[in-house]
Amino acid sequence: MSWAIIQQSLPMFGKGFVLTLWLSFVGIIGSIIVGLICSLFQYFKVPILHQIASVYVEISRNTPLLIQLFFLYYAFPVIGIKFGAELCGIIGLIFLGGSYMAEGFTGGFNGVSKGQVESGKAIGLSRWQLAKYVVFPQGFSLSVPAMAANIIFLIKETSIFTVIAIPELTNTALDLIGMYYRSNEYLLVLVIGYAIILVPLSIVLTLLERRVRYGAFGN
């Protein structure tokens, strides 16, 4: 183990680190938006769109990100649709994450108890009012643990971007190992890189989960 080698590699890892963060951030925001839209289609049973959302969720959840990326990056250009690697990565991550988020929101909405829904109906709330005042506020709190798990999952999935040569953390490490044959040092930095992102994040999300649990529930 050589500190000099680690030190020399830090600027490159720094770039990879920032790229991992950035791609994760965009991917997670996009996933939440796509997931929310799909779960709303499903909740309100919007004709046609709700079936489309269900098919999308099943396809996306049951196939690996790696193949989704290969499709976007290698197969689509053949039929004339071409994106850069980073855009492919973001689209792929949103395609994958959207279904996970949709399942999280839907699980939250379905988790609101039957008694709550009936109480809302009993005071004459319309379907939309019921959603707005009863199901959504409670459903979102109930979906926080799933959201937290999805966020961490999606950040880790960015490591797969290495297969289409996006220079994020994992790709940076593999490149360096390939060039200089020093695996111990680079792997150590790589693991620390992910730990810096994921350990604090998972602590924050656990605290948030607890707050939500003790805050909103206990009817």
Partner: protein, 246 residues
């Protein structure tokens, strides 16, 4: 004979293969208090839930205030403002304060002016001795207090008719009295028309004008209260009364 507020004719209900209500016929007059009694699983709760559109029924008609109800969700939304309902599980909305729980119906459904609705709500809370809790969240309340708020939440819509479904069944014994007193006052003082499902026999005896006795999804007898508790017409009702401890 007072005016019939609610009339149920030939109501039939089944879940998949199980037939749970058979040819239910009865009516309720203005100001009358009807209690539904019967062993558990007899269909009392299902019946009272049908009257608020929470269960789908296959046959029969329900007529409310002279209007035959066409059972669509939209129609029920209108009718539920006239027929209040309180549940065993009280189910206050945990994300809203006591006051907002009560105001939701009047301000959002009935579009009442917020200030008026609020002063009405406060008066109602005062009548159940909970005006100090207006800004509390449901989790800060005991079960009995929650149930009192749930009753206020239903009353805030100024319903003509109230349905109470086992409202004391999940309360600690010492909380039961307070809730029952509110219902009694509602019946005696405010002359509210209501249907009450309960296991509290003394309460039923005291409050009911008439008893509907259900078993296996059928109404076996409809008798004025005094007569039901002293001289029931059917053997099944006798057995039922003997089994109850009161």
């Amino acid at each position: 004979m007072a005016e019939k507020v609610l009339q149920v004719e030939h109501l039939e209900k089944s879940y998949q293969k199980k037939h749970v209500l058979h040819d239910i016929n009865f009516s309720v007059a203005q100001g009358e208090v009807v209690t539904l009694l019967g062993p558990s699983g007899s269909g009392k709760s299902t019946l009272i839930r049908c009257l608020n559109g929470l269960e789908v029924y296959q046959k029969g008609t329900i007529t409310f205030e002279g209007q035959k109800i066409i059972p669509t969700e939209k129609n029920w939304q209108q009718i539920r403002q006239k027929i209040g309902m309180v549940f065993q599980s009280y189910d206050l909305f945990p994300n809203l304060t006591v006051m907002d729980n009560i105001l939701l119906g009047p301000t959002k459904v009935q579009k009442k002016d917020k200030a008026t609705a609020r002063s009405e709500a406060l008066a109602l809370l005062k009548s159940v001795e909970l005006d100090d809790y207006a800004n509390a969240y449901p989790r800060e309340l005991s079960g009995g207090q929650k149930q009192r708020v749930a009753i206020v939440r239903a009353l805030a819509l100024h319903p003509d008719f109230m349905l109470f479904d086992e409202v004391t069944a999940s309360l600690d014994p010492e909380m039961v009295r307070g809730v029952l007193t509110i219902i009694e006052n509602l019946a005696n003082r405010d002359n509210m028309t209501m249907i009450v499902v309960t296991h509290e026999m003394n309460f039923a005896k005291q409050i009911a004008d008439r008893v509907l006795f259900l078993q296996d999804g059928r109404i076996l007898e409809q008798t004025p209260s005094e007569q039901f508790f002293t001289a029931p017409q059917t053997d099944r009702a006798k057995v039922f009364l003997d089994s109850m401890d009161f």
